[in-house]
Amino acid sequence: GAGVSQSPRYKVAKRGQDVALRCDPISGHVSLFWYQQALGQGPEFLTYFQNEAQLDKSGLPSDRFFAERPEGSVSTLKIQRTQQEDSAVYLCASSLADRGRSPLHFGNGTRLTVT
């Protein structure tokens, strides 16, 4: 069956540009998470959705980061006025149950490079 799909796979943006990263979770999965992973580091939690409700956005590093999941399936992570420190791999994960109490299925990620 289809796994979690993320697009684009790679994104190069000039500093100051806006970017939008897309995540297609596994069908029927209630929970959707966004993580940021810097090179050689563990995934850092950004935000969590239960269906269309954004229940936790405590990990978003600044108000330049915005995420939505309007119909409870596809999600978009938007970064406005990108900065060099935003360069990282952005991972999306979905899971069947709510919160972090069932296995997370990760997509391949979007590697964002800000020049």
Binding site: F33, Y35, G40, Q41, G42, P43, E44, F45, T47, Y48, L55, D56, G59, L91, R99, G100, R101, S102, P103, L104, H105, F106, G107, N108, G109
Partner: protein, 111 residues
Amino acid sequence: GQQVMQIPQYQHVQEGEDFTTYCNSSTTLSNIQWYKQRPGGHPVFLIQLVKSGEVKKQKRLTFQFGEAKKNSSLHITATQTTDVGTYFCAGVRGGADGLTFGKGTHLIIQP
């Protein structure tokens, strides 16, 4: 910042030797999960532990959850080259919604 600590950060072993990584949290965890990430890949779920003192085995891998639900370990017996990768623990802290990941232990195997 991350509140789940993992040690060691890197571990070099000869093929056939054992390997252990340790995970410690500053707060009690509702559950703990372990993931493996191959170079260039994404994290892949290995196992979830929920109960205090729980021990689970998967072939050569043994996972433990501490009695206080603040620490966990992963032990691999007789490592093989296919075990290469980074092993992450991730826990749900009480009252939180998302999994907090450790920084991972990078396992390097020399044949």
